[in-house]
Amino acid sequence: MRIVVQDTPFDMGAEAEAFANGRHDMGAVVTFTGIVRDFGDGGLDAMEIEHYPGMTRKALETIAEEARTRWSLGDVLVIHRYGRMEPGEKIMMVATAAPHRKDAFEAAEYLMDYLKSRAPFWKKEHATTGETGWVAAKDEDEDALSRW
């Protein structure tokens, strides 16, 4: 299990390759990468992510460990950035390795659902107009946890 919290960019290709490499007993690797998305009108200048340094790693480890108890997984990778990012930049990624794809897919979805609502990150949008605003948590993100 590898948990990374950093402000610098990461190379999703290199991370996925390193994660998948050399496994002989894992038939499936699933990766998900989250990317800063513009409003669709070019109006987003940047996304700023604040986190709770003392708690973030522990919260991510707890979520990843729970995934390992629920599914048959060989390994889990979580990378999450904080700080300022522009549209198109990668915010975070998760990867799961499992003997079979169902476990790898479901565990990756579980990790994403919990990362959204239970890991101490907060997103603030900076518009090109100079306006800023904290992204509000969505009810459906909270509801998504109930399916697990």
Binding site: A119, W122, A137
Partner: protein, 81 residues
């Protein structure tokens, strides 16, 4: 104990962290003490349904005990991923 604020809670109160000496038994008691201090605290804590709390870096609820706690953090619902 250390009391930490994140995101708009930090902005509304105007600082990220402060030392608080308190006899409060629960998070809710601590919130009541903070609200009585100044209007900026009162405003920040006016709607507890919009806030989350962690005691010693574990998510918990407002009824939780803070006896022997070293760190209490207040923040809005998280928006990771």
């Amino acid at each position: 104990m250390d009391v930490l604020y994140f995101a708009w809670v930090r902005e509304r109160i105007g600082l990220p962290k402060e030392k608080v000496t308190t006899d409060a038994a629960t998070v809710a008691d601590l919130v009541a003490e903070l609200r009585a201090r100044e209007e900026r605290y009162d405003l920040a804590f006016s709607d507890l349904s919009a806030l989350r709390v962690a005691v010693d870096q574990e998510l918990t609820d407002f009824d939780a005990s803070i006896k022997d706690a070293r760190e209490v953090a207040f923040f809005p619902p998280m928006t990771g991923g």
